[in-house]
C-alpha cells in the first residue's frame, strides 16, 4: 500500500499542496457564488423591469452564458477581455469573474422560478399597504424568494464548485492545478488523480447532504400546496 504511493514519499509534496489547493478551490467558489448571487438578483430585477430592451438584454446574457462552455468563459475572461479593454488581470481574478458570470445566468433562472411560486396577491397586498415598488421587493418578495430558492441554489453551488476545477486551464493554483502539476513531477497520475477525485467527492458529498437537509426544512416551512 505504501509502495503504491511511490518510493521515498515522492507524493508527500502533493499532499501538502492538496491543502492549499483545496482552500483556494473553496474560497474562489464561495467568492464567485456570492458575486454571482448578487449579479443574479440584479439581473432578475432587470428581467422583471417594464423596459423591454433591458429584459431582452438579460435574456440574451442568459442564453449566451448557458449556450457556451464554462471552459470558454475562462479563456474569454483571461485572454479576450484583457485584450479588448487593454488591461491585464490575474488568473484568480479572471477565474472568479468567469465563474461568477457563469453562475449568475443559472441563478437568475432559479430565482425567476422561485419568484413564480409567490402569489401575485402578495405584491398587490404590499402596494395596498402603501409600499413602494422597491419596498415590496425588499421586504416582501426577495426574502421569500431567496428562502424558497435555497435548495436549488445549493445544488447550483455544487455545480459551480465542480466547474471551479476549470480554473486550472488558466493556471489558478487550485486543487486541479496542484494535481496536474504533481503528476508532471511524480509520474503517479493514477494515485494523484484518485486522491484529488476523493477530495472533491468528499467536499461535494457534504454540500449535497447539507442541501438535502435544507430542502426538507424549506419544504416543511412553506405553506401547503407549494
Amino acid at each position: 500500500m505504501l509502495n503504491w504511493f511511490g518510493k521515498g514519499g515522492v507524493i508527500a509534496p502533493f499532499l501538502d499542496g492538496v491543502v492549499s489547493g483545496t482552500a483556494l478551490t473553496l474560497a474562489a467558489s464561495a467568492c464567485a457564488f456570492v458575486i454571482g448571487l448578487a449579479l443574479g438578483v440584479v439581473l432578475l430585477l432587470a428581467r422583471m423591469s417594464p423596459f423591454g430592451p433591458l429584459r431582452a438584454l438579460v435574456v440574451l446574457w442568459v442564453s449566451l452564458i448557458r449556450g457556451t462552455p464554462a471552459l470558454i468563459h475562462m479563456l474569454i475572461a483571461y485572454y479576450m477581455v484583457p485584450a479588448l479593454l487593454n488591461i491585464s488581470i490575474s488568473p484568480v481574478t479572471a477565474g472568479i469573474a468567469a465563474l461568477a458570470c457563469n453562475t449568475s445566468a443559472y441563478i437568475v433562472e432559479i430565482l425567476r422560478g422561485s419568484l413564480g411560486t409567490i402569489s401575485w396577491g402578495q405584491r398587490a397586498a404590499g402596494y395596498a399597504l402603501g409600499m413602494r415598488t422597491a419596498q415590496v421587493w425588499r421586504h416582501v418578495l426577495l426574502p421569500q424568494m431567496i428562502y424558497r430558492a435555497i435548495p436549488p441554489l445549493t445544488s447550483e453551488f455544487t455545480l459551480l464548485l465542480k466547474a471551479s476545477s476549470l480554473m486550472s486551464i488558466i493556471a489558478v493554483p487550485e486543487l486541479a492545478t496542484v494535481a496536474r502539476n504533481a503528476t508532471l513531477q511524480t509520474d503517479l497520475p493514477l494515485q494523484v488523480f484518485t486522491i484529488t477525485a476523493a477530495v472533491y467527492f468528499l467536499i461535494l458529498f457534504c454540500i449535497s447532504a447539507v442541501s438535502r437537509v435544507c430542502e426538507r426544512r424549506v419544504s416543511r416551512m412553506l405553506p401547503h400546496g407549494h
Binding site: 442564453s63 449566451l64 448557458r66 449556450g67 457556451t68 462552455p69 464554462a70 471552459l71 470558454i72 479563456l75 474569454i76 485572454y79 479576450m80 485584450a83 479588448l84 487593454n86 455544487t158 465542480k162 466547474a163 471551479s164 476545477s165 476549470l166 486550472s168 486551464i169 486541479a176 494535481a179 496536474r180 503528476t183 503517479l188 497520475p189 493514477l190 494523484v192 488523480f193 484518485t194 484529488t196 477525485a197 472533491y200 467527492f201 461535494l204 458529498f205 449535497s208
Partner: protein, 220 residues
C-alpha cells in the same frame, strides 16, 4: 481595438473541422450514455446488489468534476494497463457522465408515475417489462424531455474539456489558433459564437420535441 475579420474568415473552417469532432463525440457518447442511464435507473429500482452499485455510480458522477474524470481516465488508467486513444476516452467519459445524470432524470420521472398504475397492470396479468413498455414508458417522455434537452446541451458544451488531452475538437483548434495568431478576440469570439449557435439549435429541437409529445399526449 478593431476586429480583424480576415482572421475570423481563416479561423471559421478550422473551427468547423473541430466542431465535427465535437459533434462526433457527442453523437456517439450521449445516446450510449442515455442507454447506460436507463440501465442504472432500473438497477437503482431493483432490490438486488445492483442497487448500491447504481447509486454509487450516480454519486460518483454528481460529485467528481468532469475535468478530474478526464484526467484520471486519460493519464491515470494507462498505469493500470488500460490505455486508450483520446477519442475513446472522450466518448467513454461522455457515456459515463451522461449515464449518471440521465439515470437521475429517469428516476425522478419514474417516481412521478403513480405506483397504482404498476399494481393495476400487474394485476391484469402483464409482466414487469410489459408494464414498463406499454403503461409506464409512454408517460415518461413528457417528464424526461425538458431535462434531457438541458443534459444534451451540457454534455455537448462540456466536450470542450477534452481539449486538455489534445483531442482535436473545437476548443483545441481554437487554442491552437490563438497560440499562433494571438488574436484572442477574433478566435475566442468566433468559437463562443459557434458553440452558442449549436446550443440554441439543440434547445429549439428540444422545444419542438416537447410540443410534439404534448400534442400526442392530448390525442391519447
Amino acid at each position: 481595438m478593431a476586429i480583424d475579420f480576415s482572421i475570423v474568415r481563416e479561423a471559421v473552417p478550422v473551427l468547423l473541422d473541430g466542431l465535427r469532432v465535437t459533434a462526433l463525440v457527442s453523437a456517439i457518447g450521449i445516446p450510449l450514455g442515455v442507454v447506460a442511464g436507463i440501465v442504472a435507473a432500473y438497477a437503482a429500482q431493483s432490490r438486488t446488489f445492483l442497487k448500491p452499485v447504481a447509486l454509487a455510480y450516480v454519486e460518483l458522477v454528481r460529485n467528481i468534476p468532469y475535468l478530474i474524470l478526464v484526467y484520471l481516465s486519460f493519464f491515470g488508467l494507462p498505469k493500470l494497463g488500460i490505455g486508450a486513444s483520446a477519442m475513446t476516452v472522450a466518448i467513454g467519459c461522455t457515456v459515463f457522465y451522461t449515464g449518471g445524470y440521465f439515470s437521475e432524470i429517469l428516476r425522478a420521472a419514474l417516481r412521478s408515475v403513480p405506483r397504482g398504475q404498476t399494481q393495476a397492470s400487474l394485476s391484469l396479468g402483464m409482466t414487469f417489462w410489459q408494464t414498463q413498455r406499454h403503461v409506464i414508458a409512454p408517460q415518461l417522455f413528457g417528464y424526461v424531455t425538458p431535462p434531457t434537452t438541458s443534459l444534451v446541451i451540457m454534455m455537448f458544451k462540456d466536450s470542450a474539456i477534452f481539449s486538455v488531452m489534445s483531442l482535436p475538437e473545437m476548443t483545441y483548434q481554437s487554442n491552437l489558433l490563438t497560440a499562433n495568431t494571438f488574436a484572442y478576440v477574433e478566435v475566442l469570439g468566433t468559437t463562443a459564437l459557434i458553440y452558442w449557435i449549436c446550443s440554441v439549435l439543440l434547445a429549439s429541437v428540444g422545444r419542438r420535441l416537447e410540443t410534439a409529445i404534448g400534442r400526442r399526449a392530448r390525442h391519447v
